[in-house]
C-alpha cells in the first residue's frame, strides 16, 4: 500500500467517522437501527453543493447541510413515533423520499465542485499539500464531534437518552420521555451524517444523488467492528472505537484493493466488505465463548 493509498484510507475513514458516530447514537445508545443515513448523506452533499455553486461560502453551506440532515432525522422520528411505523421501515421511507428530494435540490443528478473554494482551501493556503489538507481538517472536526458527543452523553439529557435506549419501559416509568429522546438522537445522528456527506462531496469534487449507496453498511461496520475490537463500558472509549473502526475499515478495504496480493480482483471488493463485517460481528461471540471456557 502506498502512502497515497494510506492517506486516502485515513481521510475517507475520517469523513465516514461522523456517520459512524451518528450510528453509535442511534444503533448502540438508542437501540434504533436508523437507515435514514442512506438518504441524509447525499442530502448533506446535495444541499452543500447547491449552495456552494449558488455562491454561498463553503462553511455556511456545510452548516446548513447539517441542519437539513437534522430535519431528515426528525422526519424518520415522526414516522416512527406519530404514525407508528416500524423503525427500520421509517428510515427506509425517509431515505427513498430523500432520493427525489435530492434530485429536486440539485435540479440534476450531479453537481461538480472541482476547482471551487471548499472548506479545505484555507488549510491548503497554510501550506499543507492539497492531498493531505482533508486529513488535517477532518481529524480536527471528528475529534471535536467525538468530544461533544462524549460530553452530551454525560449531561442529564444524554443520560436520559442512554436510559431510554437501554430500557424504554423503565425509563418511561421514571419520567423520561422516550419519544423525545428518539427525536433528539435521530436529529443529531442525521445532522452528523449530512455534515459527513457535505465534507465528503467537497473532497471528492462532486455531489451525486447516488452517493448514499452502502453508507449504512460502512457505518455499521465501523461501529460494530470498532466496538468488537475495543470492548469497553466507557462512552469516550466506545466513541473512540467507532472512529478507529471507521478508519480501520478503510485501511482493510485499501488492502483488499491492492490486488494481486491474494488473488483478489476488482469485482471482489463488496464480498471483502461483507466478510470484514461478518468477522467483526462474530468476534464478540467468539470472545464470550472463550471467556466462558476459561471460567469452567
Amino acid at each position: 500500500m502506498s502512502l497515497y493509498a494510506f492517506t486516502g484510507a485515513i481521510e475517507t475513514g475520517l469523513a465516514f467517522a461522523l456517520v459512524a458516530l451518528g450510528a453509535y447514537l442511534t444503533f448502540k445508545v438508542l437501540d434504533f437501527p436508523d437507515l435514514t443515513v442512506e438518504g441524509s448523506f447525499p442530502l448533506g452533499a446535495s444541499v452543500a453543493a447547491k449552495l456552494m455553486v449558488s455562491g454561498v461560502d463553503p462553511w455556511t453551506a456545510t452548516l446548513i447541510a447539517t441542519f437539513a440532515g437534522c430535519l431528515a432525522g426528525f422526519a424518520t422520528a415522526f414516522l416512527n413515533l406519530k404514525l407508528r411505523i416500524l423503525h427500520i421501515l421509517a428510515g427506509i421511507l425517509t431515505a427513498i423520499a430523500l432520493y427525489s428530494v435530492n434530485l429536486r435540490i440539485m435540479d440534476r443528478p450531479n453537481i461538480g465542485l472541482i476547482n471551487m473554494t471548499t472548506v479545505y482551501t484555507p488549510i491548503e493556503r497554510l501550506g499543507v499539500p492539497s492531498l493531505y489538507a482533508p486529513v488535517v481538517l477532518l481529524a480536527i472536526i471528528v475529534v471535536i464531534a467525538k468530544i461533544l458527543i462524549d460530553l452530551f452523553l454525560g449531561t442529564g439529557v444524554g443520560l436520559a437518552m442512554r436510559a431510554a435506549g437501554a430500557n424504554p419501559r423503565m425509563a418511561q416509568a421514571n419520567g423520561i420521555r422516550v419519544g423525545r429522546m428518539i427525536v433528539i438522537g435521530l436529529g443529531i445522528a442525521n445532522g452528523l451524517t449530512a455534515m459527513s456527506g457535505a465534507l465528503f462531496a467537497q473532497m471528492l469534487g462532486a455531489a451525486d444523488v447516488s452517493m448514499g449507496i452502502g453508507v449504512i453498511v460502512v457505518a455499521l461496520a465501523a461501529v460494530i467492528g470498532g466496538t468488537a475490537l475495543m470492548p469497553s463500558r466507557l462512552v469516550p472509549m466506545l466513541t473512540l472505537a467507532c472512529v478507529l473502526g471507521s478508519i480501520l475499515y478503510r485501511i482493510a478495504l485499501a488492502l483488499a484493493l491492492s490486488t494481486g496480493a491474494i488473488g483478489l480482483t476488482a469485482s471482489d471488493v463488496n464480498v471483502v466488505t461483507a466478510v470484514l463485517v461478518a468477522i467483526a460481528l462474530w468476534l464478540p461471540v467468539r470472545r464470550s465463548a472463550f471467556v466462558k471456557r476459561l471460567g469452567r
Partner: protein, 324 residues
C-alpha cells in the same frame, strides 16, 4: 571491500540498470469505472482492444490496473488515491463521478475520461479547445436530432413520445433535456416515465403503453441493464422502442443512429496512446463521439419492428449498416 562483495555490488548495479531500462519501456495505465454494467465494460473492452492495436501488449509493455467502485463513492475515492500512489502514466476514468474524483485528486497525472456526457457542466474541464490542466477525454453525447428523425421516419404519425430513463443518471438526464428542447419543433409531445433502479424498468414501460406512439431510451445504464424486460412490455403493448446505441438494437430495440460503446473505448485508446507518446492532455481538445469520423451508423432490428407492429420503409433498410 572483498572481491566477491564488489563483484556482487557490480552485478546488482548492472541488474538495477537492466530493470530500469526495462521499466522505461513498460507503460502503466490505471482504469476506474463506477459500475460493472455491460455498457461500461464494453467501453473497457474496446479500450483494451484499441491499446492492443496501438502495439501495447498487456504483461509485456503494458501494465493495466483495472478497478470498479461497484457503485460506492467511498470506494471510488479510495481507488483514485491508490492510483495516484502508484503514479501510472495515465489514468482512464469511465463515467462522470469517477472522472470528477480523479480530476479533483490530482493535477499532475494525465487523465483521459470517457463515457461522460457533459464535460463542461460536470466541471471536468473549463473549455473544449485546449482544455489545459491534466485531463481531456471523449463525450458520449448522442446525436439526438438524428435519432429522433429515424423515429419519425418509422412512425410517421408520431404525436406522443414516451421517455424511459433513470433520473439519477447525469448522462440520461441531459439527453432528456435536449429532447424536451427540440420536441415542439419536431411536432410531438413528451411523456416521461422515470425508472429509479433496475427493478422499476418494466413498470416504467408499462406506464407508457396506450399513452404513447413510441418509446425512446437515452444512453441509460439502468434501463439498458434490464432492457429485455422493457422489450417484452413493448412487444405486448405494440409500442416500438428506439434507443441511442447499437447493442440495444441487437437486444430488441427497433432502430437507432448511434455509435458502438466498444468503438468509443477504441477511440479512448487513441487518446491514451497520444498521452503515452508524450502529448499533454491539456493540449488535446475534448472530443465528441458523435462528431468523430465513421462513428455513427444506422442499426435496425427487423424482427423487433414486426413484433412491435411497425413497418420499416424499404429505403431505410437499404441505408442500414447492420440489420439484426
Amino acid at each position: 571491500m572483498s572481491k566477491t562483495s564488489s563483484l556482487l555490488t557490480g552485478a546488482a548495479f548492472g541488474l538495477t540498470l537492466a530493470v530500469a531500462a526495462h521499466a522505461a519501456d513498460v507503460k502503466n495505465i490505471a482504469i476506474i469505472t463506477m459500475n460493472d454494467t455491460p455498457q461500461l465494460l464494453e467501453v473497457k473492452e474496446g479500450l483494451m482492444a484499441g491499446l492492443a492495436a496501438h502495439g501495447y501488449a498487456e504483461g509485456k509493455n503494458l501494465n493495466v490496473n483495472f478497478k470498479s467502485a461497484q457503485g460506492n463513492f467511498g470506494t471510488a475515492q479510495q481507488i483514485v488515491r491508490q492510483f495516484i500512489g502508484e503514479n501510472p502514466d495515465v489514468i482512464v476514468t469511465i463515467t462522470t463521478p469517477t472522472s470528477q474524483a480523479a480530476i479533483a485528486a490530482t493535477k499532475d497525472i494525465p487523465i483521459i475520461f470517457t463515457t461522460v456526457t457533459d464535460p463542461l457542466k460536470s466541471k471536468l474541464v473549463t473549455q473544449e479547445k485546449h482544455p489545459g490542466g491534466n485531463a481531456s477525454g471523449i463525450s458520449d453525447l448522442v446525436p439526438t436530432e438524428l435519432q429522433l428523425n429515424i423515429v419519425k421516419e418509422i412512425v410517421p404519425n408520431l404525436k406522443t413520445l414516451g421517455l424511459v430513463y433513470d433520473p439519477s443518471l447525469d448522462n440520461a438526464r441531459s439527453t432528456v433535456e435536449s429532447i424536451k428542447a427540440i420536441a415542439p419543433k419536431m411536432g410531438f409531445a413528451i411523456v416521461e416515465s422515470p425508472a429509479m433502479g433496475i427493478n422499476n424498468v418494466p413498470s416504467a414501460g408499462q406506464a407508457l403503453v396506450g399513452k404513447v406512439d413510441a418509446i425512446f431510451v437515452p444512453n441509460d445504464t439502468t434501463v439498458y441493464g434490464a432492457f429485455e424486460s422493457l422489450v417484452k412490455v413493448a412487444q405486448d403493448g405494440k409500442v416500438p422502442i428506439f434507443t441511442a446505441e447499437r447493442r440495444s438494437v441487437q437486444r430488441g430495440a427497433v432502430a437507432t443512429v448511434g455509435f458502438d460503446f466498444k468503438d468509443m473505448g477504441k477511440r479512448t485508446a487513441d487518446m491514451v496512446d497520444k498521452v503515452l507518446k508524450g502529448t499533454k492532455p491539456g493540449d488535446m481538445d475534448i472530443q465528441y463521439m458523435k462528431d468523430l469520423p465513421n462513428s455513427l451508423a444506422l442499426y435496425i432490428n427487423k424482427d423487433s419492428a414486426e413484433k412491435m407492429g411497425v413497418k420499416l420503409p424499404p429505403d431505410l433498410l437499404k441505408r442500414a449498416a447492420q440489420v439484426f
